[in-house]
């Protein structure tokens, strides 16, 4: 690990002042960043510790629930308001990592975690995300865990988070502070697809700080489910995961939210599939139809063709659970 400077600025304003220089990285729980530093994937000159900033609270707002960027994954997943209003988020969080990691990981850090692609992690391998221009090792390599949507010839990595899949489904909004003032981005527009710049995971500009996420109130709390398919029952990244939220009245779907994990460079929101569900009966047939729509444009690689079958099945299954049919 390269020698680095460590600072702990007193206030949020001091943090914003400190993070302007290139080579500076914010550290919160450190559950991913420290790994990356140990492996030599990233080598910051300076770490700015923000753990002491007052960004841990989970508070109801007029229109939703505001969760501070430094709220711990474990705390959010057990929070009464979250369990009441947004149980899907709690389910997604609990599906992620291990209890030890969730006790350290923060909401903002979870959003900023980087792909688990083996080629990204191994500094002797080609990887456009780690070292632009070196090629994509996974494209014709061991790509069992990789994306089937939104890939580019430059990168087929997936975003590893479960929490983000839940937040993408729930129309969350990211609250960002910067020297020029605060701004808000829809969660689904926070992360980006690889395109020609896989080195950039998201739209957070240099010098900006995530201060929290806001989840608007909804009518999904009775009918939501997070289903994660993985190689073991805990501490494994998703082969495919699905966040499903339904608003059902008299057996008819009034509104729906769907997002997938383990399939794209970002949490993969299924807008068309959602639309197809509105006004339909909450039946397996409707869900299967939505799953079929969701899979349009999917493209598999040598080792991940199973996702073409696993993903629609998992969508259907998650919707059945959400609707109380499974």
């Amino acid at each position: 690990m390269k020698q680095f400077q460590y600072i702990r600025p007193a206030t949020q304003q001091n943090v914003l002042d400190a993070i302007t220089k290139p080579g500076t990285k914010i550290i919160a729980g450190g559950t991913n960043l420290v790994d990356l530093m140990k492996r030599g994937v990233t080598a910051p000159d300076k770490l700015v510790d923000i753990n002491h900033l007052p960004l841990k609270s989970i508070t109801p707002s007029k229109t939703g629930l505001l969760i501070g960027a430094l709220a711990l994954n474990s705390v959010v997943s057990e929070n009464t308001l979250v369990l009441q209003k947004q149980p899907l988020l709690s389910m997604a969080l609990k599906a992620g990592a291990s209890p030890q990691l969730r006790n350290m990981a923060t909401v903002g850090g979870n959003m900023m975690q980087r792909t688990r692609c083996s080629y990204f992690y191994d500094t002797t391998m080609p990887c456009n995300k780690r070292e632009p221009g070196t090629g994509c090792g996974a494209l014709e390599g061991y790509n069992r865990m990789h994306a089937i949507f939104g890939t580019s010839p430059q990168c087929i990595a997936v975003h590893p988070s479960d929490m983000c899949v839940g937040l993408a489904a729930l129309d969350a909004v990211v609250v960002i502070a910067g020297k020029k003032g605060d701004r808000r981005i829809p969660f689904t527009e926070f992360h980006r697809l690889p395109g020609d710049h896989p080195e950039t995971d998201n739209h957070l500009a240099p010098g900006e700080l995530i201060v929290g996420v806001e989840i608007p109130d909804n009518n999904f709390s009775q009918h939501s489910y997070y289903l994660k398919v993985r190689d073991r029952q805990s501490y494994a990244f998703a082969l495919v995961s699905v966040a499903a939220a339904l608003d059902i009245s008299g057996g008819v779907i009034r509104n729906a939210r769907l997002a997938m994990g383990g399939v794209a460079h970002k949490p993969w929101r299924l807008f068309d599939a959602e639309k197809s569900l509105i006004g339909k009966p909450a039946t397996e047939a409707s869900f299967k139809h939505a799953a079929q729509i969701a899979m349009q444009g999917a493209k598999a690689y040598e080792y991940n063709a199973f996702k073409l079958k696993m993903a629609p099945g998992t969508i259907t299954e998650a919707l059945k659970h959400a609707a109380g049919l499974a």
């Binding site: 191994d122 002797t124 391998m125 029952q233 696993m310 998992t314």
Partner: protein, 710 residues
């Protein structure tokens, strides 16, 4: 089926004698010793897979803060044992010997610094350039290059390929991936030279004396000048059976820097430094009459090894031994690849072979429409099919019945894919395992003190099964004294010699020596007591009467010629109930049960733990473990615990272990047989068979991950 009643009255036995030390952190493992002036070594590995080193630039690393030395093949002092031995075509990897690269990750430099962090950083500054040559790491595409180990003949009993002419037959291929031991404790050594010709090591090892011999041989030292200490080992499973290059490197480094050197492998190093269960292809042919009598077994296997060393294991042996079948032929080949050398991993070879044989037996049971247990009983070997010798003991039929009864085998629906529980497909599977019951030679010293306490020492290790607990139990039972008066010490080369802990042989071997020593002590006490047997409460008094501070015996114990008259094996049967999700392909073990015929159970509590641990290891083999190489680069893609999956708590339900618990009359005075290997052998097949019963899908290439079932 006849019902076998288990002896529920059997005592539970001692709790682990060192359990409290282990859970409170007082048990010290090799890396935890505080050695004055210790320095830290970190290895740098090759980034190519085959070829040679062109240049090594160590300047930056040497100039980094705290660095004492950077050792490479260019500056390493000659290791005497490497120089004088007859140059062999193949053999163990010689570290820092020359510029040759045989596999990706092969150590090319060792950095020694005053702190671990500085050594780690400096290791990243070593710059190596290579002349890369073409390489092969893919077993499947190199099967045709396989050779017979030592050019030995293939096995044939009766006529070859007889299965082909049978009325009912099964012919299938099976594949297991590379599986890495990955004990929780990383391999670690602290080496200190006490004089020019004397070295001490705290070392993670399964063999105190074998490590002492290896280091003495490498550095041409008298054996007694090498002091090996390994009182606690945090799991090994075979990975610490031999002395590896990093251990030699640490001893060498301590000589170079003239200070103690601690070298702890990283988790990534563990994947390329201390062996693994080799990727193995197998083909089985089974032939049977319509009523289920086996008429032919053909078993072929090809396992990978390194290009510099042959590693062989008994993959096909189980097909020669398990069933009464007149016609058996087996063939075993080694495929040399640019990988590091494999090493025995729990149930070595047999676990691999049993996956294929016991899966094929299950397939045959469906082809015949005969219950899989019934099929096995119809082909039960009453004498050893290989030699015709009688068994010293065999109660496998009892084990089948005990297990079938306990798991509720009668509830199994033979038709696959037909039982649903809460939306999940449910299925039962079973498979059997066997492993040789061995007894070697061990020496113990036993001292009875005038305060009535008994102290026993021998240079064995305890890698986890509870050797100390078993030995304490044996001593306490033979002497008739309470276990808290027994103090059993192990893990130090200054103690009398004991064998390496491996191959399920320590309880039978060392236990016999403990038993013999205690018997001799009792005889001496009897002599002192005017040839009259004394109650154990009187031992202290006898010593005091004779003004003796202690009574000491040193006893070497090994089996007699009677051992050759019998075929000696331990047996196991594993049962699994699984749930498989019909849409996502997720497999959940709902219930696990293993029954062992391992003779008299010396230490019931630790034996149970060992069986359960072995079953979990088998579950990992069946459902998730797989080391993956990108064959374009020859490099491992998942050499960490996030990507290489071993079972976690959430994967493992209640697993039961039951014992036939009938003594073997011939192997040793306790009537005990080994159990470490049979705990794992057969488990993977039991799970694969359960998955088939649940889904109708037969997975013949492990691991059975969800993608293979959707």
């Amino acid at each position: 089926m006849e019902k076998i009643t288990l002896d529920k009255g059997a005592p539970e036995g001692l709790s682990r004698v060192d359990g409290r030390m282990k859970v409170t952190g007082r048990a010290k493992y090799s890396a935890e010793y505080k050695v004055a002036g210790v320095t830290y070594g970190v290895l740098a590995g090759s980034t190519i897979t085959s070829g040679s080193i062109k240049t090594i630039d160590t300047k930056k690393a040497e100039n980094a803060p705290g660095v004492l030395a950077v050792i490479t093949y260019l500056n390493a002092p000659k290791i005497p044992g490497y120089q004088t031995e007859t140059p062999a075509a193949k053999g163990a990897l010689k570290i820092f010997y020359d510029d040759k690269i045989f596999f990706n990750g092969q150590p090319v430099a060792l950095v020694i610094a005053d702190t671990f962090e500085r050594a780690l950083f400096a290791a990243s500054l070593v710059k190596v350039t290579y002349n890369a040559t073409t390489f092969q790491t893919n077993l499947k595409s190199n099967l045709s290059t396989g050779v017979s180990p030592h050019n030995g003949p293939d096995y044939l009993r009766g006529s070859g390929d007889a299965y082909k002419n049978a009325p009912v037959k099964v012919e299938q291929e099976y594949l297991i991936p590379t599986e890495v031991h990955n004990p929780m404790e990383l391999h670690a050594i602290i080496a200190s030279w006490d004089a020019d010709d004397k070295v001490s090591v705290y070392d993670k090892t399964q063999g105190i004396k074998s490590t002492q011999r290896s280091i003495a041989q490498a550095f041409k030292l008298p054996q007694e000048n090498v002091h090996v200490m390994s009182p606690f080992v945090g799991g090994a499973f075979g990975a610490a059976l031999r002395t590896w290059p990093h251990e030699i490197a640490a001893v060498l480094a301590a000589k170079v820097v003239k200070k103690p050197v601690k070298l702890v492998l990283s988790r990534a190093d563990m994947f390329t430094s201390v062996g693994y269960r080799p990727h193995t292809w197998q083909k089985i042919g089974l032939g049977a009459t319509a009523d289920g009598k086996l008429t032919g077994i053909t078993h072929e296997a090809s396992g990978q090894t390194s290009v510099y060393e042959d590693f062989t294991e008994g993959v096909v042996n189980i097909s020669q031994l398990m069933y009464a079948c007149p016609n058996v032929n087996t063939k075993y080949r080694l495929v040399s690849l640019n990988v590091n050398t494999p090493t025995p991993m729990r149930g070595p070879g047999e676990a691999t072979g049993a996956f294929a044989l016991e899966s094929a037996m299950d397939e045959l049971s469906y082809a015949l429409n005969i219950d899989p247990i019934e099929l096995r009983m119809r082909n039960y070997a009453e004498t050893d099919p290989q030699t015709g010798k009688p068994y010293s003991s065999k109660f496998l039929n009892d084990a089948y019945k005990i297990g079938a009864d306990a798991i509720g085998w009668s509830k199994r629906n033979a038709k696959p894919g037909t039982v649903k529980e809460n939306g999940w497909l449910a299925g039962y599977g079973m498979a059997a395992g066997m492993f040789g019951a061995y007894r070697g030679s061990a020496t113990v010293v036993a001292r009875l003190l005038a305060d009535g306490t008994l102290h026993i020492e021998t240079a064995v290790t305890d890698i986890g099964p509870g050797t100390g607990t078993a030995m304490t139990t044996i001593a306490s039972e033979v002497m008739g004294i309470s276990s808290d008066k027994v103090n059993f010490k192990l893990g130090d080369s200054t103690m009398p010699p004991s064998p390496t802990q491996g191959g399920s042989s320590v309880t039978a071997t060392v236990g016999s020596a403990v038993s013999d020593a205690c018997t001799q002590l009792k005889e001496k006490l009897k002599e002192l007591n005017g040839n009259s047997e004394s109650a154990s409460a009187g031992y202290a008094q006898i010593l005091q009467q004779h003004n003796l501070p202690q009574l000491e015996v040193t006893v070497t114990s090994k089996g007699g010629p009677e051992l050759g008259k019998y075929a000696m094996y331990s047996w196991s049967v594993h049962f699994m109930k699984v749930l498989v999700h019909p849409v996502t392909g997720v497999v959940k073990i709902q219930q696990g049960l293993s029954v062992a015929d391992a003779g008299h159970i010396v230490s019931p509590k630790t034996a149970r733990s060992q069986m359960i641990g072995g079953s979990i290891m088998g579950a990992g083999m069946a459902l998730m473990e797989e080391a993956v190489i990108d064959h374009r680069y020859g490099r491992l893609m998942n050499n960490n615990f996030a990507d290489y999956h071993v079972p976690v708590q959430a994967d493992i339900p209640q697993i039961e272990a039951l014992f036939v618990n009938k003594p073997d009359p011939y192997l040793n005075p306790m009537g005990a047989k080994g159990m470490g290997e049979i705990a794992t052998i057969g488990v993977a097949a039991a799970l694969a068979n359960a998955v088939y019963n649940a889904t109708g899908k037969r997975v013949r290439d492990l691991p059975i991950t969800p993608d293979k079932l959707v």
